[in-house]
């Protein structure tokens, strides 16, 4: 198995673990962590594929991942801000059912 193939599979595994985490852990910070894991899985995938041809490394996925990392931190920061304020207001850190009043 080549190095890119190994990391491609690892990427798939990390993504799948993220999916599991997202579904199974209702605590919001954990969900955000799980989403980050999934994101990292995709990033790993892109970069591993960029290295399929050992002589020529594809710069486009690298740029995409760099962009992706910044977007991921933005989304994470926003999500965490909501979590913090939700906690301040309700003392809860998970969503529960949607209850129309």
């Amino acid at each position: 198995m080549s190095q890119p193939a190994l990391f491609v599979l690892i990427a798939a595994a990390v993504f799948a673990i993220g999916v599991y985490g997202l579904l199974s852990r209702p605590q919001l910070v954990r969900r955000i962590l799980a989403l980050n894991l999934m994101g990292n899985g995709v990033f790993l995938l892109l970069v591993a594929f960029a290295r399929r041809n050992p002589e020529t490394i594809d710069p486009v996925p690298h740029a995409m991942v760099l962009t992706g990392i910044v977007i991921a931190v933005s989304a994470t920061a926003f999500a965490l801000a909501i979590v913090r304020h939700l906690y301040r207001q309700t003392g809860e850190v998970s969503l529960g059912e949607d209850r129309p009043r």
């Binding site: 605590q27 990033f43 290295r51 740029a63 760099l66 991921a72 801000a81 979590v83």
Partner: protein
Amino acid sequence: MGELVGWVFDGLLALSLVLLAARVVASARLFESIVLFIVFGLLMAIAWARLAAPHLALAEAAIGAGITGALLLSTFREIVTDQPPSAEAPKVLVYRLRVLMALLAGGVFAVLGWALLSIEVPAGPAAGEQARALVARTGVDDAVTAVLLDFRAYDTLLEMGVLLLAVLGARAAVAAQPPASGDDLWIGGEGDTPMVGALVGLLSPLIIIVAGYLLWVGAYGPGGAFQAGAVLAALGVLLRLTGRLVPLPRAGAFQRGVLVMGLAVFSLAGLLTMATGRAFLQYPEGLAYPMILVIEVALTLSIALPLVLLFSGSAGIAAGRSQHSP
């Protein structure tokens, strides 16, 4: 021999990544999950390096592990209730659901892995080949920087919008609350020791120099606005942690300017090129490098400030008390 070592290293790295990811999800304690996630990020940085992506290694270490980790930890500090798993839902149901979810995730892994391994190298005209072939026609030598600031500069520009939205969004979360008096904002710097002060005093100029270097080197090799911005942001986080930057409920005009500077400079540069009869952000011959450099400087600051603000959890920041206050 070197190859074998490489193999073993990659194998261990891969295994650690998977185990860490699993542990992040499975750990009963949120704090442990967060710390493990930061470790995971650091290992990712090593993986990037192994995969010949030094740009990413830098960015991941600074942003993926550093800033994200700091954000997570500061959130954790606020929401101290680390709910035990039993509080989440009735146990039998959870167990059955979890089996189902695990099956689903396993399915995702199987299909994804199968699909991935079935992919062959594309035959047609790929973007990557063109990018490498045409780097010489841009103002920079580094292919990744060329993609980020020339070939796909529009992506980078819009991405600055995402960062800006995160800051505005965080403020929206505050605005949704009863009026904040400002004293619920965490000031930081508790228990500051002289040692910390000295360290910060030493580190600050150093970090600024590193950031400047990263910015400048981006044209030729690994580095650029993102990495530089992230490093600057790390400095900001450090200063905020030690109370040298304090939160403000409102951002002043200067800070608002810095916040949108990257976006504004980038957009205006594009509209300027368009005004001269070219396509949007089609740099004129010879002016490409200077234009890119100006844009990168603006981007660096406009990346650093939002990250610091997001960490600070406030609309603005200001220089705090002096280094040696008790």
